[in-house]
Amino acid sequence: MSTNTERHPGETAPVEAPASSDSATPVRRRRRRVPEITYSVLVFLGLLVVWQVVVKVFDVSTILVPAPTAVADSLIDGFRDGSLVTHSLVTCKEILIGFGIAVGAALVSAVLITQFRAVERVLFPLLILTQTIPKVAMAPLLIVWFGIGVSSKVLTVALIAFFPLLINAVLGFRSAAHEQVEMLRSFGASRTQVMRHLQIPSALPHIFAGLEVAVILSVTGAVVAEFVGSSEGLGYLIQASNFTLDVARTFAVIVVLSAIGIALHAIVVQLGKWLVFWTATPTDTAGEV
């Protein structure tokens, strides 16, 4: 078999991997030495300083706005006596279980909806209809039905995270080009093989866009459900702190909640980058919710 190694100029150059820093001009390189995140951090620290100064200078009441240092003290106290840790664990448990249920239910529903026309015709309009119900409005009902324990929170989280996941997963499973399906069919691929080799991988970018939105919504869902009725968790802690006018602790809990949200979101984003390595453009839909 003779070799054919000649390629003409038009197609020798494969697209380079994203921006090799060597090719950057000296000017741009100098600017790049300070990462943009540095400025964000500086601005954030500046705001904290302004906040501290305003509170001290104008002697703002601690039951209105506590100074950042007071919040920090409260945070340290909370971690020392373990209260923030135990309540965080409860909330994290609710978030993770509820999120897990939502992911499982949404993926199974999306597969059924995209694979069976009958399911799509009957179920999809109903699901879209129920999507218009504000899910947090269901939280009190769920408390009545499932008690003030973990299960009512888990269900609220699952409900609230389910829809963005479902919609994105359905879009994702449908995103494979018809021509690609035919290509696999021409090689004798069965329906399940088309699913496995084409539709599932094609759906991944969309699914991760949904996961990014849903994971943030999960945190909100857990806290709201805890507001409605609970005896533990960070949402409970916020209400308890408000009741005792311990606003510094309320702020401390909010800081912890943000940290949880950022961490979970970061995990999803990293997982997405690792699994969906072939798309040049990252899934950025509502990434900053």
């Binding site: 078999m1 070799t3 190694t5 390629r7 290509m183 696999l184 021409s186 004798g188």
Partner: protein, 262 residues
């Protein structure tokens, strides 16, 4: 059109017709009474304007669409199964999460037939297609021409006896396109598979083929089959010879006369 004996006829189309229902309730006749015999090892180009049903024809042979009436038989003793067909599409249609090498192995993977022999075949194809350095690259790192080479290699992976090509170079720029055509001829010359090559470029059709099937639209009919008696191996310079020009002109007239008849 010379009559071929049954022994070397590899595909026979008998009075193929294809009618599509349209959304407005009417019907479109994509193919009307198309008959054709293809000999083993023959390179056939199918040329015609868009809407003449040339892609539909390939899809029916491939088994992706079902004809309304008529028959497709594979010769000599109808032992040609679908897996002895390989199809190359207009777009490369590579799976972006698979490396070039794994894209070549798509078909063996589907049939759970990946073994030492298929791996060796994949390496052989990489060399033949001039992609030996790109086996571990992902499709989005390749140029359009290289991607389509992988698409061709993927169709050759299971060593089909018949290669169906649906405007495979239609999405490429003119220069790449000419080069790909000549490269395709080199590959074809190695084991002379039967090729059905759909295109809307008349010079491309003539440069590559032994016979050019000319089709006309609405309904998709076979206007004529033109013999291309040019010597092989063909070169790009062939395009400038008077013989080549005559054949191109003949095909163009066929298409024009059918067009003005409507």
């Amino acid at each position: 059109m010379p009559t071929s004996t049954d022994t070397d006829c590899v595909i026979r189309l008998d009075a193929l017709s294809m009618v599509y229902p349209t959304k407005s309730g009417g019907t479109v006749q994509a193919l009307d009474d198309v008959s054709l015999s293809v000999r083993a090892g023959e390179f056939i180009s199918i040329v015609g304007p868009s809407g003449c049903g040339k892609s539909t024809l390939l899809r029916i042979i491939m088994g992706l669409s079902r004809q309304t009436s008529g028959q497709v038989t594979f010769g000599p003793s109808d032992d040609t199964h679908r897996n002895q067909l390989g199809m190359v599409f207009q777009q490369p249609l590579l799976l972006p999460w698979r490396t070039v090498r794994k894209n070549l192995l798509t078909s063996p993977d589907l049939h759970r037939a990946r073994d030492a022999a298929t791996h060796a075949k994949a390496e052989e194809l990489l060399v033949m297609l001039g992609l030996e350095e790109f086996g571990d690259r992902y499709p989005n790192e390749l140029s359009g021409g290289m991607q389509q080479r992988v698409g061709i290699g993927r169709a050759l992976m299971h060593d089909p006896r018949i290669l169906l090509m649906d405007e495979p170079f239609g999405a490429l720029d003119a220069m790449t396109r000419d080069q790909m055509g000549l490269d395709l001829l080199k590959i074809w010359d190695q084991d002379r598979k039967t090729v059905l090559f759909v295109t809307h470029s008349i010079p491309e059709a003539v440069l590559l083929a032994d016979r050019v099937v000319v089709m006309t639209p609405r309904p998709g009919r076979l206007a004529d089959v033109v013999e291309v008696a040019l010597p092989r191996p063909r070169r790009l310079e062939n395009i400038n010879t008077p013989e080549f020009g005559e054949i191109v002109l003949k095909i163009r007239k066929l298409l024009d006369s059918e067009h003005s008849a409507h």
